[in-house]
Symmetry: C2
Subunit: 246 residues, 2 copies
């Protein structure tokens, strides 16, 4: 920390945390948003769950507080993934006005530490009394959001792509133990946000020795019953082995 | 960002960036430290290169400014890897006193955004005029450092292990095109900070199809000339293929 060049450079940024919870809902990648009250507006306004940090709080503590206050969840594994601190974050005067009203503080600049969790969307995601102030919004059809929340969501999506690039095995945590080729393909289409050619995907699957065909097929479906596959983690770990375990 | 609970919770944290440059020197993992002036002390004191951010600066801009001011380097690829914001960061009064003297600002709490780069240590790492205020300190033999700089360095080392765990191929960027089994083993020993059994390592190497034995051996050495290996990136990418490239 060098000497500040001159008095003009002195300023007092605020620090916040924002939580990006991503999950798939109705075959779309969705993000959890909370309602925010905007004075003089009847429309619904949303934002990422977030908060300025409190004086006694570590960053992780603040992130879990925010998550818990917004959703009632405690056990979601939040991972700090990036901090956003551009001076342009507060360029929209309405956003700053809203935050100053809500926080009763003068706001010039805010550096936010963003956290990320991948969730399965289910009944137990939200506390009952909170649920009508929360929405799961498709990432590709976001409403207006304050500050750089859209940019943070896009960065979170990219972060998840990077995780899956490096470790494709994590997608199997979000599939049932037995899954169809369609289910697997859809999860990759959702992660990479693009359509994947069915035939190419099957070809790729057949080269992945850790995706094992079972003898079972779907039952009780109207269409032609699809074959079930399973994930062989032992084979996967062997193929993705590294020098750590010597 | 919820309403702050009460006035007591209002506070003004500072935001800084810190740069962790790691490289290997004389077969040890080292970190770049800069000298800091401590009033009334004749001993040399060091810290990570870092700075409070300026009012007009993005976080990345601040990190590159710090790196450039400290070392003259511009082309190192810095990666933001984690923010540290525990209230305990400023528990040591001497550290706070030093920073208040250096910055001419009242300091209560500092959230720092840490950046990381892996470097090859070479002649061009530092500007000539700066080089006597800089040291490459072995990570296992660090001098006293202010704030949580030791913790940040340990987290940076862990981050690099995670990179290598997920993508062992990156170590070959830090080896010559032809390398010996010893050189490869040493780089893993340095990354994982443990001795690796020679025989087990050779066994592991032989299972890694992307490490290809060449016909060449070392020349002009006193000991028995070792075989050279090379890294086959095409084979590596195939083995570590994922669904991104469909």
């Amino acid at each position: 920390m060098e000497t500040q060049k001159n008095k003009k450079e002195m300023f007092y940024p605020h620090v916040s945390v924002d939580c990006v919870l991503l999950g798939t809902n109705e075959d779309k990648l969705c993000v959890l948003l909370v309602e925010r009250q905007v004075a003089g507006s009847d429309e619904k306004h949303y934002k990422l769950p977030g908060s300025l940090i409190y004086e006694s709080e570590d960053l992780d503590t603040a992130a879990y507080r925010v998550l818990n206050e917004a959703t009632g969840l405690k056990r979601v594994a939040l991972k700090q993934f990036r901090s956003f601190g551009s001076p342009a974050r507060t360029k929209n005067k309405e956003d700053v006005q809203w935050l100053e009203n809500a926080s009763k503080m003068k706001i010039s600049r805010i550096v936010t530490v963003a956290y990320l969790a991948l969730c399965k969307i289910g009944k137990k995601t939200t506390m009952d009394e909170k649920s009508d102030t929360l929405i799961w919004a498709p990432v590709n059809e976001l409403p207006h959001l304050p500050f750089d929340h859209k940019e943070i969501i896009e960065a979170a999506r990219q972060e998840i792509r990077d995780w899956v690039d490096r470790e494709p095995g994590i997608v199997f945590d979000y599939l049932p133990p037995k899954f169809t080729a369609y289910q697997l393909r859809r999860i990759f289409e959702i992660v990479y946000d693009k359509e994947v050619d069915v035939r190419n995907f099957r070809k790729k699957m057949s080269t992945m020795e850790y995706i094992v065909q079972t003898d079972e097929t779907e039952t009780g479906v109207n269409h032609r019953a699809a074959r079930y596959f399973r994930f062989d983690r032992i084979k996967y770990n062997k193929l993705h082995s590294n020098f750590n375990k010597i």
